[in-house]
Subunit: 495 residues, 2 copies
């Protein structure tokens, strides 16, 4: 008996979804790869954003086809109606939200991952299990975590935060929370602390975990948008006195609004003194550790009991690729492990892999997302990533200087790392009118295809927000931004 | 001002992660695509599973490189040490767990998605928002959901189940569960019902949601592994009498062990009578709806208030691609919506997209996984998918017949849809010895590269489990499986 499938004795009608003509697929693949290279090579020549025309929207309203139109035709539709309208984070002047850029090298990795289509279970004795474990070991070492800590690749920061806060719940609850659920009848309410600048996914996680937002204590921030440590201490003391159970301090290393970094060592000290779990949301900020010059900004991050971060943000990895690291692998596993009989591990064969990733998170089968990050890091090396990240930090400083030097523009927050907040000032207008003016400037920046910053509200004021996780940006792009904001602002006021 | 980036006036040292030589990338892309075509075209010629040799494992133990080795070299490593060792669900004789196959057409879609790297937020006015909405509309119509129901692509069935059960919690709790959390002090315990054959992710979701497994009532199954409806009715009555609050019936359309389908209409009737939420876990079974001949198997599925299913299983879509549909979009949105100021929606420009997907689930930025499913459905059309699915159902019947006809093999469960359970019988052995023998047969099937079924335990007995979500399988593959099981069983007993 050998492994080769025998010629079918089966009915003639047995078909597969493989192409009838593999050569045709090969040709299309070459063409598509050429198109993708051209697309990325020329991205700076296109607008940072452009609206979808009616023809595209019309296509996206068509009913489900009963008869297929073939891959060639589908590809034409993609090329004409999908490809020209990306979110835009691949563009050198995209600085919205916290969108990473991706790299062309990962096209190769994503192609391979698509062909292999591995289920990335971890207990399968296959390459994906080992690639992910190796990547996790690399990330632990980069971020100062011990080899015996545990980790998991997840869909992104929201899921990484959910996992971290779930493990904190296991640690803090003085009862078996997996069995009883949240027990408010017999035990005090668990309290999680985060600053008013903490990410929305943290609130969402606390709600999803059944703790309720009543378990979330929002601590005010100081002028630099970092958590007010004195207010935190007071809140913990007050909660203890009121019979509640302080459970977890959430630190943010790089707030989404301004990039502010909470005083990590101080928070870790408090967590130790108060016997609390410390979770760090370092969705993008964690990778400052890769820059020799800026690593100090996130000193203390390695003291967090759980750490959430995204490789698809400031490691420029394609979506999606997030990660969570947990110091206590036992507590991590105790939070999620359920092994039914159909997932039995064997000593030999397919199901004899190194560990079951589903014991550390929500997913069972998972995409082979590890391959793209593995490819990226091996291709460029960490030194180069450190330089790219530092380049973004320097660009944020440069933009800050440009804004400070420009009459009519004003910073709205100190630039802590890689996010710059500013607005166009016209003192003849009220605050509300100025806010509306800046919203209009932002929309026109996008509509004219010049650049795509996003916005936020800081101390009640509308801010044009430039988050730089973009390896394609150059200083000239920020110069162009400042020129355009000034010009558009004047245009609007003149008309 | 036009959108083209000006020539940099910036320091010479500004670099990007784009290749220095785009031509080299183009050549490598062609080579890689050729390799992937060859890889998939010849998959049947390779073993269904093979162990990783020492050289591969050694590579996966190397430290993180500070200096990159370049993409060409990384690709060589991938080709030599990663590519030959996939989970194996691309192989025609892979029937483990519930692994879908993927299709070659999606290589193109995945390549495009990788190049675009869209954040798939939904509130970005870009192609990915509309592609996903269109796909969701198609899926609603395929599965009998109204156009005004809501839906979301997620990482897979585990997440889809989590979302569904979270929305059920919102619906059932007689208090604001997002604010208060699970409140056991003032309100009765919510109870979710599922059969003993329900998927492990459902228990996990109930634990994660802070309900606790004490809120999960496991209802026994009948001989055909479907839920015992009388026992369910009794359990609901008992819980009400004991002052608990029945909240949700979980129906399974295709249990993971045997493919059994709970009586969906009966469960929907009970849910209506008792005013309970009905969640259906149709991770793979839902797509039986695409087969004219077998759609009746899942009649009533469209009555579920929430429906979880995977496109990466029985729609043969590449990992990862799951989906959840919810009848009440308001309850769905009320479970997850948190809109911070930095995610403000605008009337025009980049942030003027159709809706914010993060209001319907855990993730904020997401991969553009919609594109591969969209490409698959448009390429082949739903009729063709229906035929492929029916082919798998017929193959399961065929294998069932082969097992029944073969002396020395015995079925361990009725074949309800596309999963077959059987074992090798040697009546001179005890039950425990026979179970060990079958585990050994399974490992040898895999080690010899013949086929990759998985296993489970049914009524206390070890079962070789063949789950058929594979468009590459032919009847001859099942003939080969039956021959091999018999031959290996005899070999082992003889030695």
């Amino acid at each position: 008996m050998n492994a080769k499938a025998a010629e079918p004795k089966s009915p003639a009608e047995e078909r597969s979804l493989d192409p009838e003509d593999w050569e045709e697929l090969r040709q299309l693949g070459h063409r598509a790869f050429d198109d993708m290279v051209d697309y990325l090579k020329s991205v700076a020549d296109r607008p940072a954003w452009q609206p979808l025309p009616g023809a595209a929207k019309k296509l996206f309203e068509q009913d489900l086809p009963r008869q297929g139109i073939g891959l060639g035709e589908v590809y034409e539709q993609i090329r004409d109606h999908v490809l020209p309208y990306p979110t835009g984070n691949i563009h050198p002047r995209f600085w919205s939200w916290v969108g990473g850029t991706g790299t062309p090298a990962q096209l190769i990795a994503d192609l391979v991952a698509s062909a292999m289509n591995s289920a990335s279970l971890g207990f399968d004795e296959v390459a994906s299990s080992y690639v992910e474990l190796q990547l996790l070991n690399w990330l632990k070492s980069l971020l100062g975590y011990a080899a015996d800590s545990s980790g998991l690749l997840v869909s992104g920061g929201s899921m990484a935060n959910l996992v971290g806060l779930a493990v904190a719940r296991t640690h803090a609850a003085p009862y078996d929370v997996r069995d009883q659920g949240i027990n408010t009848s017999d035990y005090p309410r668990l309290i999680y602390y985060m600053s008013s600048e903490g990410h929305s996914s943290l609130r969402k996680a606390i709600e999803l975990l059944g703790l309720g937002s009543a378990s979330l204590r929002i601590v005010p921030v100081k002028d630099d948008f970092t958590i007010d440590v004195d207010a935190l201490r007071t809140a913990i003391r007050d909660d203890r006195q009121a019979g509640r159970l302080p459970a977890c301090i959430i630190a943010t290393a790089g707030t989404v609004n301004t990039g502010a970094i909470d005083p990590l060592n101080e928070l870790a000290d408090i967590a130790e003194q108060e016997n609390l779990w410390m979770h760090a949301d370092a969705a993008f900020g964690g990778f400052a550790k890769l820059s020799a010059k800026s690593a100090h900004l996130v000193d203390g991050l390695e003291r967090a009991d759980s750490l959430a971060f995204d490789l698809h943000k400031w490691l420029y990895v394609q979506y999606d690729c997030g990660c969570v690291l947990i110091k206590s692998s036992d507590t991590h596993r105790n939070t999620f492990s359920v092994i039914p009989s159909y997932l039995r591990k064997f000593d030999r064969g397919l199901a004899s892999g190194p560990l079951n990733f589903s014991e550390y998170g929500v997913q069972l089968s998972r995409s082979f997302r590890a391959l793209r990050a593995w490819t990226a890091l091996k291709t460029e090396g960490t030194d180069r990533y450190g330089q790219q990240i530092e380049q973004n930090i320097q660009q944020a400083k440069y933009l800050t200087q440009l804004v400070e030097d420009r009459v009519g523009l004003e910073l709205l927050a100190p630039t802590a790392m890689n996010i710059v907040n500013f607005h166009y000032v016209d003192e003849s207008l009220s605050n509300a009118e100025q806010d509306d003016l800046n919203a209009e400037i932002l929309m026109q920046l996008q509509e004219r295809g010049i650049a795509a910053p996003s916005s936020t509200v800081l101390n009640g004021r509308f801010s044009i927000r430039v988050a730089i996780c973009n390896h394609r940006s150059k200083r000239s792009d920020f110069e162009a931004l400042v020129e355009a904001v000034t010009a558009i602002g004047k245009d609007i006021r003149a008309s």
